[in-house]
Symmetry: none
Subunit: 304 residues, 2 copies
Amino acid sequence: MAKSPKISASHEPGGLIVHISGLLPSLSPAEQRVARLVVADPADAARRTITDLATAAETSEATVIRFCRSVGMEGYPQLRIRLAAEAARRIEPPDARVVGGDIPPGADLAQIIATIAFNDARAVEETAEQLDPAVCEQVVEAIGAAGRIDVYGAGASGFVASDFQQKLHRIGRTAFYFPDVHTALTSVALLGRGDVAVGISHTGTTSDVIEVLEQARARGATTVALTNFPRSPITEVADFVLTTAARETTYRSGAMASRLAQLTVVDCLFVGVAARNRARAKKALEVTAEAVQSHRVGAGRRRG
Amino acid sequence: MAKSPKISASHEPGGLIVHISGLLPSLSPAEQRVARLVVADPADAARRTITDLATAAETSEATVIRFCRSVGMEGYPQLRIRLAAEAARRIEPPDARVVGGDIPPGADLAQIIATIAFNDARAVEETAEQLDPAVCEQVVEAIGAAGRIDVYGAGASGFVASDFQQKLHRIGRTAFYFPDVHTALTSVALLGRGDVAVGISHTGTTSDVIEVLEQARARGATTVALTNFPRSPITEVADFVLTTAARETTYRSGAMASRLAQLTVVDCLFVGVAARNRARAKKALEVTAEAVQSHRVGAGRRRG
DNA sequence: GCGCCTCATGAAAGTAAGTTTCATCCGTGG
DNA sequence: CCACGGATGAAACTTACTTTCATGAGGCGC
């Protein structure tokens, strides 16, 4: 190892492939054959065994090892792994996903999946970015201290409301969800100072939800609105406004991304409240988890 | 259980890591130790020799090999290479966000939000990556052609089931959701060939849901399972298995990320079915949207 | 409670992959 | 024509990987 000065031996953080093609001319003929194979298709090379690669390059294993050393690798396994990693990094998300756009008419399932997932994930991320932690903090504080929490939402937002209610309940907070305006109004009429009413509406224009929050506020309860549009009517009857950042598209009027964004906000509030009283929340979660245990079958283990 | 195993054999084009964590509960204890090491740091695992990894997992080489086979790899070298590739493709979480981990006790709201959003978005992306379009296609086909669709889920999955039902209903498919086992069983008893039953269960072990699918299948209906664990009991009573890829953590036992992942799958199926009959679906959506219009206040011209 | 069976497991044998050594070959310059 | 040095592959060798098998634990029927 003391003799040939070929190796830079140092780190070549850029591309191993680039590195190899760079010193290709300085390699011996047999090593060059190996190098060319490797550069031509790194992923394929990574899949081959040393004997295999040697044969393909019409040379011996020994030469392949020499090649490894020449390019600064310790041995063949190391090269293989580096090649696999390189090759993987190379692949770029090729298909132009319709960002925030509609699903093209001729789309196949794979495209649909990619598009939806992209938009969904995006909505979640962007929602988190624009969420104001200070406002969240206050909402968490209010909920954590509330005597009672009423959650309300209609349509798709109803599921989210219901989910939120269930979550709060599981950590021992007294929370209610009402699927229709009338019962909601009845309940809200009994709220007072120190209680919290949460209204969820993607558009922020659902009159039922607004009405409920309005009533709650009139009774002195703290009102929280969760909507995608910071200047929508619902914000006018809310003490605290939390916004989502979903860009719904026409076809997606089923409110797909917005729902996920709403759920993310709900999750944050939930964890916030739970974190506020860790011990108690944990206990409550354990107890409730235990309660459904008898409805589970078998341990997970299955053979394949 | 008369039918053949319908596991998507070796379909893990998305994350191998994700695939492994999905299979985790179906592995033997010793294999699980190996799996955890691998999932925790794939790049590191790729660097280790089999003996090394076995030692680290406090087990024998034989078990590591068994683990390789369990997750669908031919042998250890293959696993190593795949892991290296995975690790390379993976983008590092910006700051020290606890990936898939618990929320640290002292966390402030901003941290909580970042962590949750990161994990939620991740679950959505990874779910999409590992979804098998071919299976989705078949499910979409079945639902699109079904005389009737029954959707069932308990607990948190119940919301998702309900959401799915509502979506299908909005595009003119005859779909039902039942919040309790008894009514569900009653309904399912009336299903027949050409109908579809969808069961949603994160763990795949919820006995109620399994029972419902079992009945549906006995009646000749096509059964679809949506779960996070590809070898859980529910998969044995399903003709088609769709999996999510959420890594729930202790504190997140409220099934937060898994819910979003499930919704993403639901969205995909929904759009798939809608795309199958674009005109009709669009019409149906318009009509239903119009129906709630009178419950909206103010101008709807705001857009994010 | 008892024996049977199945399954998980690691020790050890066996095989394949990777690495080193060394003799040969070939071209070059004396 | 010989001495030399680098390139190269055959074969010996080492290490890594894989298979086989005996053991023991845990579950299940009797």
